[in-house]
């Protein structure tokens, strides 16, 4: 048998089975909805939920100064959609209660003689008391508040010295007139995501997560389902090759996943205004490689287990590890060292960073080549595992 006819035979048998696989998907309306509509709905909803941006933080003002300068500060906070003014008085106790009730995240205390100091010394202290129960959010609110104050001070040609304190149980109190803190002038500039729009960062990640989940779950169920129904035995008694079988199972879901990704990308671009700074071809090419990895893992699970239920549990286990160790929700840089090392074998991590690099930074082939090579190695490795795991004959 010549090599050409061997390839033709491989292609013919693979396509015969893949065609049947496509028909299964088309006939099963529920799974079609599951594959196409659900990820888009989730993308639309979850992209609004999964944000680190803090908006409309409740602020309470304790104004001891009652000056035009202090009212100017209140006005600036009121004008920003980052803050919501929930109360204003000259009573630290009222502010304390508001924070205890959870009504206020930030208490801004403007001390007596604020305006006088500002005019006389060109600098004046101001108190920022933060509810630090939600650690990272408190940090973000603090930096927003500091920024708002700095902008205002710059307008006046003066300097306002914020004195932040994280409050968990201590009451906010009047700021001592002369804080000893040194002035640190931090100038921030965000690269690539100048407006710090978290959606630009999160939407591609969420899209990757959704497509990965759907792809893994569907493929993991697939062979297990055929084992349960008894249809696999009929295939196992035919001369179909193991590689042909796995390829035929992978191909239709690969196409579906790519369609999902393209639709999701269109939503990201049109609804969430996510930039596509790099090459779309490069992105889809990397996605194609990545999806082979994700689906091969699903098929490996499916070849391994006996029932759909086992497939479900195993894939949830894998998906949880996948997503939490991917850098999608939490930065990998802040994980313990061993987790960072372990996450290198997580294909999601590599593709999340590839997609963010291409979309947000406009990275080219050279910048992502290491990750692409890693994914290629994974693709070969997991396909091999899936093919070897699939047994036509019971031991």
């Amino acid at each position: 048998m010549s090599a050409a006819s061997a390839v033709r035979g491989f292609a013919r048998r693979t396509l015969a089975l893949a065609r049947a696989e496509v028909l299964h998907v088309i006939r099963d309306r529920a799974s079609l909805v599951q594959i196409i509509v659900m990820p888009l709905v989730q993308l639309l909803v979850l992209s609004n939920v999964a944000t680190f941006a803090v908006k409309r933080s409740p602020v309470y003002f304790v104004d001891f100064d009652h000056s035009p300068a202090s009212r100017g500060i209140v006005t600036r906070f009121a004008a920003s959609d980052l803050f919501d003014i929930v109360g204003q008085s000259a009573s630290p106790d009222a502010a304390n209660e508001a924070m205890l009730r959870g009504d206020a995240t930030l208490v801004v205390t403007i001390p007596r003689d604020f305006e006088r100091d500002l005019v006389r010394d060109k600098a004046a202290p101001i108190g920022l008391d933060l509810n630090a129960e939600k650690g990272s959010a408190a940090g973000i609110v603090q930096s927003y508040a500091a920024q708002t104050l700095t902008d205002y001070a710059a307008e006046l040609g003066t300097e306002i010295v914020p004195t932040p304190r994280n409050v968990i149980d201590g009451p906010p109190s009047e700021i001592p007139p002369h804080p000893g803190a040194a002035h640190i002038d931090v100038r921030l500039r965000s690269w690539y995501n100048q407006t710090l729009d978290y959606k630009h960062y999160m939407v591609p990640g969420i899209l990757v997560a959704l497509v990965t989940m759907i792809g893994t779950l569907l493929t993991a169920q697939n062979i297990a389902r055929e084992k349960e129904m008894g249809t696999l035995e009929q295939l196992n008694v035919t001369p179909i090759g193991k590689a042909e079988f796995i390829t035929a199972k992978l191909l239709p879901f690969w196409v579906l996943a790519m369609i999902d990704l393209m639709l999701g990308l269109a939503v990201a671009r049109l609804v969430f205004d996510v930039p596509i700074r790099g090459s779309l071809v490069l992105l889809m090419g990397s996605a194609g490689l990545y999806m082979i990895v994700a689906l091969a893992i699903g098929l490996w699970i499916s070849a391994l287990v006996e029932t759909q239920q086992q497939a479900m549990f195993t894939s949830f286990f894998v998906i949880m590890i996948y997503l939490l160790m991917s850098g999608l929700l939490t930065p990998i840089d802040s994980m313990p060292h061993w987790v960072q090392v372990a996450s290198l074998v997580n294909p999601v991590r590599h593709f999340v960073s590839i997609s963010r690099a291409i979309l947000v930074k406009g990275a080219g082939l050279a910048e992502i080549s290491t990750q692409l090579v890693t994914l290629a190695v994974f693709a070969v490795g997991f396909l091999t595992l899936a093919i070897r795991q699939y047994r036509k004959r019971a031991a």
């Binding site: 015969a16 065609r19 049947a20 028909l23 099963d28 249809t231 196992n236 001369p239 036509k392 004959r393």
Partner: protein, 255 residues
Amino acid sequence: MTSSGDDRAIRTNGLTRTFGAFTAVDHITFDVKPGEVFGFLGANGAGKTTAIRMLTGLLTPSSGEAWVAGHDVYRESELIKRDIGYMSQRFSLYDDLTVRENIRLYGGIYDLTRDQIRDRTERILSRLGLSDTAHDAVGALPLGWKQKLALSVALLHEPRIVFLDEPTSGVDPITRRQFWELIYEAAHAGTTVLVTTHYMDEAEYCDRISIMVAGRIAALGSPAELKRDAGASSIDEVFVRLVRPELAGGGGPAQ
């Protein structure tokens, strides 16, 4: 030497399969000649299905030897699969695909050409009278039609040997008769048939039968030989004597 070196369709020698401490198939030795309709009789759990699964390359034997279509079951199970057809006791075509789609799928897997698939599809549809339901999902067909379709698909690539595991269980007597007509047609076309059943009347349709009891071959021969040797008037009676000697009593004719 990897093949049996003779023209026997199936040859086994002490073929055995254990599951832990349980011996499902216990040293069975038998031959099946080309073109023969060979029956495997036995109660549920006698080891018929396990034997078939070993011969079709679905299950690795624990010990013993076997050759199917001249191929060794240990080392050449994938070669065996080119030469055999198989119909399991559980309907295993795709319920959500139509009659035509199921035929086309297996035609493709068995490397039939487009023309062969088209011709054989038409032949099956007209032979089974399924032309009007060719575009219906297979799951909607009555059980008897499903079984006849499953047999036709098992024979689609014109295999040398076809294994039928309880093909008629659960179908009505008329369909059973039609089913056996299909089996005879295949046998006349030269296909060797190995069929398992627990319907004793079907045993009479076979050229030779082996009666399996608790994993062993308790009797082997043509239906006439078995009845004569046991002094019984029916295979049913032969079977009862082998399985439950105490019930056979005085040995008079059962019916």
